[in-house]
Every structure is written in C-alpha cells, then in structure tokens.
Amino acid sequence: MTTDQFSDSLLLDSLGVLLADYNPGKNFDETFLPDGSVRALYQRIVECFTALDVSEINRLERLVDEEFRRQGITFNVYDDEEGTERVWLMDLFPRLISAVEWGKLEKGLSQRIKALNYFLADIYSGDSNVIGDGVVPRWMITSSEGFQRSASGISPTHGAHCNIAGIDLVRDRDGKYRILEDNLRNPSGISYVVENRAAMAKAFPRLFNHYTVKPVEQFGKMMRNMLESMTPAGVDSPHIVVLTPGIFNSAYAEHVFLARLMGVELVEGRDLMVDDHTVHARTIEGLVPVDVIYRRVDDDYLDPVAFRPDSVLGVPGLLGAVRAGTVTICNSIGNGVADDKAVYTYVPDLIEYYLGEKPIIDNVKTYRMYEPDHYEEAIERLDGLVVKPVAESGGYGVLIGPHATEQQLKKARAAIEAEPRNWIVQDLVELSSLPTLTGERLESRHIDLRPFVLTGERTEVFPGGLTRVALRKGSLIVNSSQGGGSKDTWVLASETPEKVQHKTR
C-alpha cells in the first residue's frame, strides 16, 4: 500500500446510480478500497459523480466528443480496414495523483532518464565504458535493432540524447508503481495531455473546485525552452522546426499541435535541404538555416545517405550536418538501443553504474529468455506471464498469457526458442483500475500512466501525463492503437482537498 496523506478512506452514504454496483476487482483500485469505501484522494470526485444522473453525464460525454471532433483531435490506427482515423476518446472520470506520490515519481523518472542519457552518450561516444566495465555485454548492444551504428560519434548538446521520453508506468496489486517500458525514440501522446485538460475544463469545470491541479498549458513553453537549450554552440536565437513524415503518420495531428503550441514551423523532409553541411529550410524568403530539429521521423528514414536509400521522408546529408555540429536533432539518433525491452532489464544496473543510486521506481520482473536460468523459470509458465517482442512499441505483438489460446502459447514458445534475444517475458501486472463510464454506469477499467520527461540542459518531468484506459472489461491492453481511451490526469499541487470527514454508509 502506498503511503500518502490521502490514505484515509471513507464510506459514502450513497454512491448514486452511476457507482451503485461498482466492483473494484482484485487489483489495486485507485478510487475504492476492497471494502467499498472511497479513498480520501477521490472523495470530492466521487461526490460530484454521485450527484449526477445518467442523462447529465451523457450530455457531458457528448460535449467532450463534439469538442474533440470540432478540433479534429484524432488518432490513427494502422491496419484498420474501416479507415484509419478515429476521434480521440477521453473518459470523464479523471485520474488523480497526490503531491507526495508525484514527488516520488518525479525523482524516480528523472533518475531513470538521467541514467539512460548517460548510457546513450557512453554507447555512441565510442567509449562504451558500460561494456568494458562488464555492466552490459557487448552483444546486448550490437544485437539491438535500435542500435544505430551511423550515430556513432554523435554527441548532442549537453550529452542529451533523449530529449523527450515517455515512460509507461503501471501499479501492481499493492498499488506500487512500476516501470513497464521506456519510450525513448518518438514517444507520442503529449498533445493529448494538454487537449484532455482543455476539454475537461470546458465540459466539467465544477469538478476542479475542490482541488489545486498543476496546470499543463505551459507544456509548449517548457518544450520550446528545452529545444532552445539544445542549440549548437555559437548560435544565438535558434531556428527550431518540427519535422513530420506527413499527414499519413498516425501522430500527424500531434505534430501539428506541438508546432503550433511552441510557435515553430512544421516541415516535411522536402522543405529542408543541406548545403555545406548546414541544414536550411526552403522558405518564400529563400533558404534559412535551421539549428534545432524536433523530428518525428524514425531513424531509418532521416537521411537516405546514411539509412534507407529509398526514403523520401528524410533530408539527404542531414547526418553530415549533425556530425559537423551545425544542427541538433531531437531526439537524437539511435535511442532505440536504450528502450529495447531486453536492454530494459539492465536499466536498474545502469542507474547504479552511472549514478551510484538505487532505482527509486522498480521494473516489472522480467525474464531474459537468452539466459538459461531465466528461460527455465519462465518457459513452462507462459500461460501466467506476458510475452513481448523487444523492439516493438504500441502494444503490437504482445501476448498476455492468461488470455491466450493454447495455439498462441505454442507459437510464442516456438518464436522464443528460435530467437531468444527477440523476446522478453514479464510477470503479469494486473494494472490498477479506475471508475470509467460505460454508457449508464461507472465500471472498473484498467489504466496505466505515461508521464513525459524532458531533457535539455537539465531533466524535468512534465506534471501530469497520459493516463490510458482499456475500455474493454478486464482487458489489460491500454494502447490507443488497440482500442484504448484516455483520462485527464491531475497532479495535485498541495494538500488538497481539505481534511475530509469520515462517514459510513
């Protein structure tokens, strides 16, 4: 059980129609204790929802949906025959994180990202002390799909390779936060944090009355400051651009949003060109040098000279410009080596090695399938564990043992045996749950949390994050590409709400 100032709980006289039959399940429920009493942190929220009737809540839901529709806030799903674009889904019941809890998460996330940035700098500087000192075996690096040999020798400003990271956190049965995975390449979702808040504040302002919630509107400024701090030496007022693969990318709406929020141009590869190892933007005023590129184009498509020669999304000669030190690419190239799920198992060791500290937030217990003792421990119990490919993101290719058929498990075993390096097996974390609207009621649904960590001159955790929710009952897959929704996530600024009184039902 976590300890914070809201660990008190209370039983309400009546939970109203929406929550009358709420069953928190056997997992950790963020709002209710197993005996049905409400955690103090959520008391005011629950009271608010208790007072609502179905028609009122449905009206608010429509309001939010219309707002997202009107603003074109959507997400794309690949491989979907019904069309790829869907309206963003936000559930009205918010996710709350107390100030104390957040303080601890902030420290833990900063610690992790600092260590991962040291790791990336070490690996790509060519020193690779982490290998020489026996912390990570060389083959772990050279066998990683995300390891970009072309990035060797690139040393970005401040040694910051991962400028924006999205870390997926879950809470286990005891309510303990654990790191599920790191997203250090091109994590998406930050725009939804800001958009969720805006929609929530518009649709349901009275919900905020009893809480002091840390604002999220300043994200654009924070991000812009971070990117400015990444300017190559000798440049005064940097020209920053956002580089997008274009409208067919699943996160294009986010690229547009971020560029607008930061007040910088959104460009595609063809809008940029390299001359004399310097990147220029083609503008109506002619060529203008570019100093910092926040890119949302994947490594392999960035520069056809160094990577895939058939790529038309990138900028020929870009890597040469990076080497010449005339431009900074954020995130840097080759971060995939550090969010490789097999390398993930070494992150606690990396924290100790680079920082001399114990990890503040633990990993989920993970088995390295290429290590005989790990393999022995896990291979016959896959039906109770989770199997994940090491290089995928977005929940693709994940097999949840208890929900898998015998045929699927057999296939997974064969795949692991063929390429043990390509798979990890994790303990099944049940994921905490939160009341979520399902038409006429609030039911328990599983959630995770993706906070974002910015690193330029220093490392900062953005207050809040994206809470993703599995909309199907019992499902543990929260990815929006797999039918997940989201929740506005409130990081509380102080000792709110006011001291609550205990009541009994």
């Binding site: 075996p137 050279t142 020798g153 690139i154 060109m273 390299v274 020929p316 040469g320």
Partner: protein, 348 residues
C-alpha cells in the same frame, strides 16, 4: 612497403543533377600494420568536405554538392607504409570460440548481415560444416572453410552485381572479389567463426593470383616461427606475376576485398579468399564491417534523372614508390579545405 594509391571516380550523368550527397570511404585506415603517410580527397565540382570516423573506425568524407552538375569527379590520393602481420598461434582451440566474452564481443560478425544471409539448407553451409568437422585446430578450420569458398567460385570479372544473395552466388559459381569475400564470410559465420569484410586496395597485376603464401600448407601457417617467411614469400611473389615483365612499379587495379576471421586470444586474422592467400604488405586496408554495405567507396543520393543513362569510370593506380602525377587530369583544383572531425566529435 611504401605504396602510393590514386583512386579516381568519374560520374557522368545523362542530365543535370543537383543536391548530391555522398559518403566517401577511400582513405586507408591507420593500424599497427599500416601507417598512413598522406591522404587527400578532391572533388570536381569542388566543395568543402567533412571528414569523420564511422562506427567501424573507417574514415568517411561527407561530400554534398547543392548546385546543378552533369559530372562528378573524385580523386583520392594516399600513401601508406605497410608491414607484415604476425601469424596466429596454432594452439588456438575451436572450443575457445564459445567463450562468453569472445562470443559477446564479436556477436555482430557471427550473425547474418544484409549481404551475407544463409540458411541451414544451403549447400555451402553443409560443405562448411563438413570441412570444419574434419579440422584439427581452429586455424586449420578457418583455412579449410576459406579454401572451400574459393573452390566454389570461378573468378569472372563483372560477373555479378552487388546485392546478389549467397545462394544465387553459389548456384552461379562465378564472382568477383566481393563475392569470394561474402561467401567465405557466410561459411565461416555458419560454423561459428566471426568474420568481417575488408575493403581496400591490392598491389598486384591480377587479383586472382596468389600473393604471399598459399592457403594450403596449414601446418606452416600455424607454426609460430614462420611469420618472417610469410612476408618473404610475399616478396618472392612480387617480381614474378603479372606477365608484364620485370619488376612492377605501378599497376592499374580495382578496389579489392578480402576478409578477417576473429580468433580467441589473437583478434582479427586477415585472409584473402579471392587468391587464397594470407594478407600481407601489398594489401592496403580502407576499412572493415559486416559486409560490403558497411564500407562502400561511395554511397549517396542525388536529385535528378535515374541512373539509367549515367555511367561511372573507376580507376585505381597503385605505385610501389612515390609516383608522379603525370598523365592525370588535374581539373580538380582549388578545393576548399576539409573540415576535420576528430573521432566523429565536433569540429576543431
């Protein structure tokens, strides 16, 4: 041995092209057996080059030409001093290959790579496994596998193109130096010996003729006291081949490719599958990697019509002494100085 190399490439495009961006790998590598005395790359149109060092330690010149052009000339001139290499000890055991640190360190040279793919069903994989099984030591095994690769192909100039799979290559039965190297690498990796691809220049009139000792007498290679005689054999070979009569001072060649096999406790051992010999003072290494894809002399893109009505001439001249520049068209002039990036870091 002092060797001077002039490597000239001349691209002629069917129509004007622009925004040409290229990585050039032509500079000889500095190592224990090869000292680089001189290197200079010039281009026409002239541009400011950026020199960096890649992951493999190969020197790379980044060259970008924005303006419209119909031809691109590259002239890389270098001079090196090469020295003989020690031969590995014959006592290295095959079992040492599975030592965890060795396996981990050379992992990327043990697995398939873009140009070196194989499956257990490939005939050449079965052949490699057979000769490996019959070997009594690691050196013997490496030599036997390389000879097997060499015997599987006939050297036929221009018989293949980059991108051919090992399966197709083996079925076709002919190839050039890259192919001999790729097949040998694939066969070595398939039996658990880490192997890499080496790109460079060979001072020889004919790249298929043996230079130095032939890879036949394994006991001689493996004994520790023959390192001197290997170099000597190289010297002996020098005056006799080529059919040009007398001593060679300068030869027109093509870029050459060979391989290195990693041996526990020794490191890389360089061998030349095309002519079935050890690598000696006449081999000038530019760089190495998993296969050709990691060390192409030129890799790049340009904006303009497709390659179909364009062509490229490539000439490498290697001289044994200092050579004059007579006979070369020195239209490449007034090139701006390089930006030199030390070990890939920020410019000085």
């Amino acid at each position: 041995m002092r060797l001077d190399i002039r490597y000239k490439m001349h691209f002629r495009y069917g129509q004007a092209v622009q925004e040409s961006h290229n990585e050039i790998r032509m500079k000889p590598r500095e190592n224990r057996f090869q000292k680089v005395i001189y290197y200079r790359l010039r281009s026409n149109p002239p541009v400011r080059l950026l020199q960096a060092v890649d992951y493999w330690g190969t020197s790379v010149d980044h060259l970008g030409i924005r303006s419209s052009h119909t031809e691109l000339e590259l002239l890389a001139e270098s001079a090196v001093e090469t020295s003989p290499r020690p031969t590995p000890k014959s006592t290295i055991r095959v079992e040492d290959l599975s030592e965890p640190d060795f396996y981990s360190d050379y992992y990327e040279f043990l697995i398939p790579s873009a140009h070196v793919q194989w499956s257990p069903d490939d005939v050449f994989v079965k052949q490699a496994s057979e000769v490996a099984r019959d070997s009594n030591s690691l050196l013997e095994m490496v030599v036997a596998v390389i000879n097997e690769a060499r015997n599987a192909l006939v050297y036929v100039p221009d018989s293949t193109e980059i991108g051919i799979s090992l399966t197709e290559l083996f079925a076709g039965g002919s190839g050039v130096c890259q192919d001999f190297a790729h097949l040998a690498i694939g066969m070595l990796r398939s039996v658990g010996v880490p192997a890499c691809y080496v790109s460079g220049y060979l001072f020889a009139a004919d790249e298929t003729q043996p230079i130095g000792s032939l890879l036949t007498d394994v006991s001689a290679i493996g004994s520790t006291d023959v390192s001197g005689s290997v170099a000597e054999a190289g010297e002996l070979g020098y005056t006799t081949f080529g059919g040009l009569g007398g001593e060679l001072d300068e030869v027109h060649v093509q870029t050459h490719a060979w391989i290195m096999a990693a041996l526990p406790g020794h490191g890389w051992w360089a061998l030349d599958p095309t002519n079935g010999s050890l690598v000696g003072e006449r081999h000038v290494i530019v760089g190495y990697g998993r296969d050709y894809g990691d060390v192409p002399p030129v890799r790049g893109v340009y904006k303009g019509p497709t390659w179909s009505d364009s062509d490229v001439d490539s000439v490498v001249i290697i001289g044994r002494q200092d050579t004059s520049t007579e006979g070369w068209d020195h239209s490449v002039q007034n090139a701006p100085p390089h930006i030199v990036v030390q070990s890939g870091y920020n410019p000085i």
